[in-house]
Symmetry: C2
Subunit: 381 residues, 2 copies
């Protein structure tokens, strides 16, 4: 039996998927028959199967799987929805669409009796979506944390290990192909907000409103922050984390001071790491490349294989309606402020110029200072 699939978008990842399917002998019964793209100059590369008309794909009854690799945007969302409504299985790498529409799309795929998989949307080649789904069946997951963005981790690693200034590290990341021309979504943490929201949706069987996720970026991080952390035995890492206590979820994306000895501190450059805490299964940690043509394409192909093998279809037991906490944690913080005189003495443990290490304080206190704060990192471990 031959399984026919269509790929939407012949970019880096889309071509990776095409390439793997055509090269791996064990995938002989899977055939890419149409590709949606506007660039007809790539026709020769793919045996003339490019079309710019999505209806060619939707109306082709022989196509059972649609693979979406076009990236952000309403058009991607519309294409995925149309494919599911046309009773086609969908595999996507699109974290924006999954983070915002997972509930609706899961509802449609269940009604239509097809599969909707999105392993490549979080953690590139790391099989974290599947593992979170599997773990959530038996376990109550209580915490997820990790580094889910390669660009910012690459920048912080270069600043830490090679003493590069921020601007040079960013440029290197762009030259290496990790950072987008407009790196705002990465630097402000929006990319990780989407990813930690998807993982939390699965882990807690709920539906996170991404607009409610606290995030503070690293665009103001400077070598003096890195040095300050280093002198105290810490590394600065840009960390996504969420935890469930009772009916309340705490979820955030923010810079953290982590012990130099921790595995999270040892996660360098474009690597990602995710830890999940489960009741029966204890802690699990997954580590690997979070992006790149082949790791991402490999994740997509694994999703396709799950469909072909008729594997477990992700379902949600019943959607829990948990409350997302205002971040109410307390802890020690590193602050670099515009005006030190605006910070009350009772909050300060140590200070050098405008760099402050606070005592144990509530996040409330930090929030009050937000206008005055150029960069902060929570001290953990």
């Amino acid at each position: 039996m031959c399984i026919k699939i269509a790929i939407l978008g012949l970019g880096t990842v889309g071509y990776g998927v095409y390439d793997i399917i055509n090269k791996v002998p064990l995938l002989q019964n899977i055939k890419v028959v149409k590709i949606l793209d506007k660039d007809f100059s790539k026709q020769e590369l793919v045996n003339n199967i490019i079309t710019d008309n999505y209806d060619d794909i939707i109306n082709d009854k022989s196509i059972s799987i649609v693979v979406e690799t076009m990236g952000a945007g309403n058009f991607s969302y519309q294409c995925i929805k149309k494919a599911l409504l046309a009773s086609k299985h969908v595999v996507t790498a699109n974290k924006e669409v999954v983070a915002s529409h997972i509930e609706e799309l899961t509802e449609i795929k269940s009604q239509k009796g097809v599969s909707f998989y999105y392993e490549a949307s979080v953690g590139g080649g790391i099989p974290i979506i599947k593992q979170t789904h599997v773990a959530s069946i038996v376990n109550q997951i209580s915490e997820i944390k990790g580094i889910l963005n390669g660009t910012t981790n690459y920048i912080l690693s270069k600043m830490t290990n090679e003493k590069l200034p921020f601007a040079n590290a960013l440029k290197l990341a762009q030259e290496a192909g990790f950072a987008e021309a407009d790196p705002t979504a990465d630097l402000e943490g929006l990319d990780m907000v989407r990813k930690i929201s998807i993982l939390s949706d699965i882990a807690y069987q709920t539906n996170i409103n991404i607009d409610k996720v606290w995030h503070f970026g690293i665009k103001n991080v400077s070598d003096i922050d890195i040095t300050y952390a280093d002198n105290l035995g810490y590394a600065i890492k840009f960390v996504a984390s969420s935890s469930l206590v009772g009916e309340n979820i705490s979820i955030s994306v923010e810079p953290k001071f982590v012990s130099k000895d921790s595995i999270i501190a040892k996660t360098s450059n474009e690597f990602n790491v995710v830890e999940i805490k489960c009741d029966y299964n204890d802690d699990l940690l997954f580590y690997g490349k979070g992006a790149g043509r082949y790791p991402t394409a490999n994740a997509i192909v694994n999703d396709i294989i799950m469909i072909v093998n008729n594997d477990m279809n992700y379902t949600f037991k019943n959607r829990n309606t948990y409350r997302i906490n205002e971040l109410e944690e307390s802890g020690k913080y590193y602050l670099r402020v515009k005006d030190k005189s605006l910070v009350e003495d009772k909050l300060i443990d140590k200070a050098i110029d405008n760099q402050i290490l606070t005592k144990e304080v509530s996040f409330e206190e930090i929030k009050k200072q937000m206008e005055n704060i150029i960069f902060y990192a929570k001290v953990v471990m």
Copy 2:
């Protein structure tokens, strides 16, 4: 539809499986109906479903899944084989049986059209078997390495971090329930030989003869070895590794000097870690508890869920017949010898008393010294 299962052995792991199945609401359609054990004093604990006659289970047509948690031994092997021959699905945690009989048992399960899963046989709660199977479909895996034995890692961690002598560290491991009363299989590396062989079978789609796997244990490791390593910036870890180059497999279980900065060095106490190198998917690393009632039972329950959901059935493309190399690697070695005068000067980089750091030498040279060697560790990054 109710799925009926039998558990063989009501020990630590067997009871964990029983407990999870009865406690987790989502597993309501799975029912443990018989348990094979000789200890009838446990009847009340499990609603009087214990039998000591395996025929009661084999002949019960309503039982579709047999879960084996009895541990080593020919009886376990016979029970698994009988269950598969009776067209029952089998889930086992038994690394001895899987390492020695994977080919025969996979052959039988394929003939009978049932499933044979063994996630809990390697890495406890870490889903490494499944991931290796999944990765092997698309990728050529070229290397696997890691720490796959909690007992010996616990001992080395206590010796390193708390400066305990070997005997005390072993005693602590036994008190904590990690080490067996007879810890020989762990200390000599036989346990890791079985586990790395199972992973290699899957990764390279071959069949490793466990008798051909080089192993050198840690029963002679001493605090002076730990200190020597520490002074050079290394930690001593007991590492299983295998790699495939062309048609040749190099596979070993031996102590290694690893950089204190590496993730493998940061893997402490009873934790396990596994790294796999893939062509498309790059490096992947999995980390978690390698043993314990609930992590292991959780892995078994996940296998049961795969059967219930009719998930991917592990198959082997076609068994590759690779050659297992005599270890022919070269490298630097740390040696502690009985008689230093027996080691040729040209091999020695540094020496203090009977502790030697060699120059880059072939493993052949080390093997010649084996009678003279009390403890050795290969120096790796």
